[in-house]
């Protein structure tokens, strides 16, 4: 039972260790997919670079907030 709980925790952690990154990644994917469908064939290829930009922005924003939180925890304010 203990092993099953650890295994489940591990599988869950594999994908959603940080909720913001996991949900943000899915949202970025959905946004790029919606863009590729809505803009038509001519602009569809821009969905790839768009996905890249969205994900890298998400990463930077997530790291910024994490860094701020960790620093505040460390310094106590």
């Amino acid at each position: 039972m203990n092993l099953l709980a650890s295994a489940w925790e591990q599988v869950y952690g594999l994908l959603v260790e940080d909720g913001q990154i996991a949900i943000g990644t899915l949202a970025a994917f959905v946004a790029a997919f919606a863009w590729s469908v809505l803009v038509g064939e001519e602009l569809r290829d821009s969905a790839g670079p768009l996905l890249f930009v969205l994900l890298m922005t998400l990463l930077l924003v997530n790291l910024y907030t994490t860094g701020r939180k960790a620093h505040a925890k460390r310094t106590g304010h």
Binding site: L3, S6, A7, Q10, V11, L14, L15, V16, E17, D18, I21, A22, T25, L26, F29, A32, F33, S36, R44, D45, A47, G48, L51, F52, L55, M56, L58, L59, L60, N62, L63, Y64, T66, G67, R68, K69, A70, H71, K73, R74
Partner: protein, 256 residues
Amino acid sequence: MFLTLAIAAVPSFLASLVEWVEAFTIIVAVGNTRGWRAPIIGTASGLATLAVIVAVFGTPLILFHDQISQGFHIVVGVLLLLFGMRWLRKAILRFAGIVAIHDEELIYQREVAELRAQGLRPDRWDNIGFWFSYKAVLLEGLEVAFIVVALGAQGGAALQAAILGAVAAFAVTTSFGAVVHKPLSFVPENFMKFVVGAMLTTFGIFWGAEGMLVRWPLDAASLLFILGGVCLTSVVAVRMLALIAPQGARVAARNI
């Protein structure tokens, strides 16, 4: 063809090496404190369980690959992105000193203390030694299993290459381990984690977009540009974190 196989084998090898090194620390702690019979059987059983997981999830992906090619690219892309972004984030936080570096030596000492506290009955089968090793291999290997399946999802040859990468990493870890009989703390785990995270994120973006029927301007050569962009963003992120927290924070990974 060679590129497809390399894309499956290299990240699989590096990701597996990181995970096997972590599992090995626990196995060697068990072996050095309680004897080697139970941990060897525990390790073999853990590997057998992982092989079943890869077979169960990998086989349908290959069998139905052609029928659901587009949806399939999307699923694999999303999976790789979820893994990749997670590894990348953690490696950047460690590079910047926000999260404490994974210390195999410290983990080894902690495991040895815990195992000694459990006591030993040398005349009987060592249940504790078996379960400690089995759990270590299974839990660390789960991530390897999913990465192998996701990278190998391009077809039978790619799955074989990904499995080969994971097996080679296991062979390298156990060979070194058999010689030194102590944790492999000299392995640059965080750097390797960063490389794997960057590669998985790159492949996730590339294949995910292909699932949206996007045609990349330079086909597979676009991978290099995406990878370059991911690395550049990571450098910017480390610099940014150094400005936010110049002294670092050294928070334990699970608390962040």
